[in-house]
């Protein structure tokens, strides 16, 4: 049953099996892409961090201008929120995401509890990412490109994973709020990204206006 459902991802899917969740191939590829992108960003940040530790005068590859710079961001206390570099969490977490992506692309059915777990994990990640956004904009006053990749990847991943875990509720079993939330999830995400983008524009307008 589940194998059939996964094999035809674009068809309305049979949810009669409580053990697994249907995943469209677009979602599967997105999870894989998100995992790989997140992994690259975290690994790069970790390597740059090590370079800075070896040589404090090292200028990281992403120091482009006074606003877009990761050297200054990486050396802040916020970059080691739990006493060790945040990027180490990223390496571990995005490795899990990558494996999940590979499994879903290979159409290996995963149980519902797995997706719920992924959603909880991604939600924690998203909360952390938003804390980092606030710190980056209003405390540190700089944007680190690799970190922003992680912001985008984590937030979009939350939408994908949550819709897989709770998607069946969209069929009308989970009430009108959940259903509409599911239906409008990409609209909400788009507006969310726009809001963050506008916050960045406004926050650093003094600098951007010099580039125009």
């Amino acid at each position: 049953m589940t194998a059939t459902a996964a094999a035809k991802p674009d068809e309305p899917v049979d949810n009669s099996s409580p053990q697994s969740c249907p995943v469209s191939s677009a979602s599967a590829w997105w999870i894989l892409l998100a995992g790989v992108l997140g992994l690259i960003a975290s690994a790069t940040l970790t390597v740059e961090k090590i370079e800075i530790l070896i040589n404090p005068a090292y200028v990281p590859s992403c120091n482009l201008n006074p606003v877009v710079a990761c050297g200054s961001v990486m050396t802040t206390p916020q970059a080691s929120a739990f006493g060790f570099p945040n990027s180490l969490i990223g390496i571990a977490a995005f490795a899990v995401v990558t494996v999940t992506g590979v499994l879903t692309v290979a159409k290996v059915p995963l149980p519902r509890w797995y997706w719920v777990g992924m959603t909880i994990g991604t939600l924690l990640g998203a909360v952390f990412v938003h804390w980092l956004i606030v710190q980056s904009l209003y405390r540190i006053g700089a944007l680190c490109p690799y970190c922003m990749v992680v912001w985008v990847v984590t937030i979009s991943l939350l939408v994908v994973v949550a819709s897989i875990a709770f998607g069946p509720a969209g069929d009308g079993t989970g009430g009108v709020v959940v259903r509409e939330l599911h239906r409008w999830r990409w609209s909400i995400a788009t507006i969310w990204f726009t809001a963050v983008f506008l916050l960045i524009v406004v926050r650093f307008w003094d600098y951007w206006s010099t580039l125009i």
Binding site: P12, V13, P22, S24, A26, S27, W30, P56, A57, V59, N63, L64, N65, P66, V67, A69, G71, S72, I140, G141, A142, V152, S156, V159, V160, S163, G167, P168, G170, D171, G172, R179, H182, R183, W184, W186, S187, A189, T190, I191, F193, T194, A195, L198, V201, V202, W205, D206, Y207, S209, T210, I212
Partner: protein, 256 residues
């Protein structure tokens, strides 16, 4: 990115293809409207905030000489040239190293009154707020002596002292105090630098002066687009003040 995923991630309730496509279009349409509205609104607010040129609070360091050419029957200078600069900005460094000697000569000849607005335009925690601290120090020095300010200002733009915008080390307050001393002033300067007396004014200068870039040069309040050639600037001043003795030899080629 999100939009692309939205297309391939259709809701899974029972709709036929046509109404599903309509549903998708409605969602994309409404989302676009909200996004566009937000961008336009924020853009409008930011731009109009920019244009509010409140000159209040902006303080200039006026450099003149006793020979200053004034308007007939008043003490107002014929030509006031305003320089909005930042001690960190590389373009300001190039400008000062290229035009500085010419401007200096025009001041000494009495052709212009120069108003220097030293801003904290590029000030960021990662450059240790060098722009603001250096600008503050310049005002501190100017409080004691305008001549010392001229030396201090020139010194901070020399290639040896001006730090790289993307560098990692920036002169600290002790170094600024030392440079002020080398420019010939002590007095209240060390305390003034330490207290950051002019920091709030310097940080608000960009907004209160309504500038978008440094260096910005204004001649009698009009934005002036300077060229590579100091002689063009001298010619423009000559149009305003006439044939001031020495003005023809004012244009100094940029130091190599």
């Amino acid at each position: 990115m999100a939009d692309k995923a939205a297309k391939s991630n259709r809701p899974k309730y029972d709709l036929n293809a046509a109404s599903r496509r309509r549903d998708l279009l409605v969602r994309i349409g409404l989302t676009s409207i909200v996004v566009l509205f937000a961008v336009v609104l924020v853009g409008y607010i930011v731009m109009s905030h920019d244009k509010k040129v409140a000159a209040s609070g902006a303080r200039a360091i006026r450099v003149t000489s006793s020979k200053l050419v004034t308007k007939d029957g008043s003490k107002d200078p014929k030509a006031v040239v305003s320089f909005y600069e930042d001690f960190l900005c590389p373009a300001c460094g190039n400008f000062e190293r290229g035009f500085g000697p010419t401007v200096s000569k025009l001041i000494d000849d009495g052709a212009i009154a120069a108003d220097y607005y030293m801003t904290g335009f590029l000030s960021r925690p990662q450059n240790q707020d060098y722009s603001s601290r250096a600008a503050n120090a310049a005002y501190c020095v100017a409080d004691e002596s305008i001549d010392a300010f001229r030396r201090f200002h020139t010194a901070l733009y020399t290639k040896d002292i001006q730090p790289s915008e993307t560098g990692t080390s920036f002169p600290d307050n002790a170094k600024l105090t030392e440079l002020a001393r080398e420019a010939g002033v002590v007095g209240k300067v060390p305390q003034c630098i330490k207290d950051g007396k002019y920091l709030p004014m310097v940080d608000g200068l960009v907004a209160s002066a309504g500038i978008h870039a440094t260096p910005t040069v204004r001649i009698n309040g009009q934005d002036y687009q300077f060229t590579e050639n100091p002689a063009d600037f001298v010619a423009k001043i000559k149009e305003i003040v006439g044939d001031v003795p020495g003005i023809d030899s004012a244009a100094t080629p940029p130091a190599p």
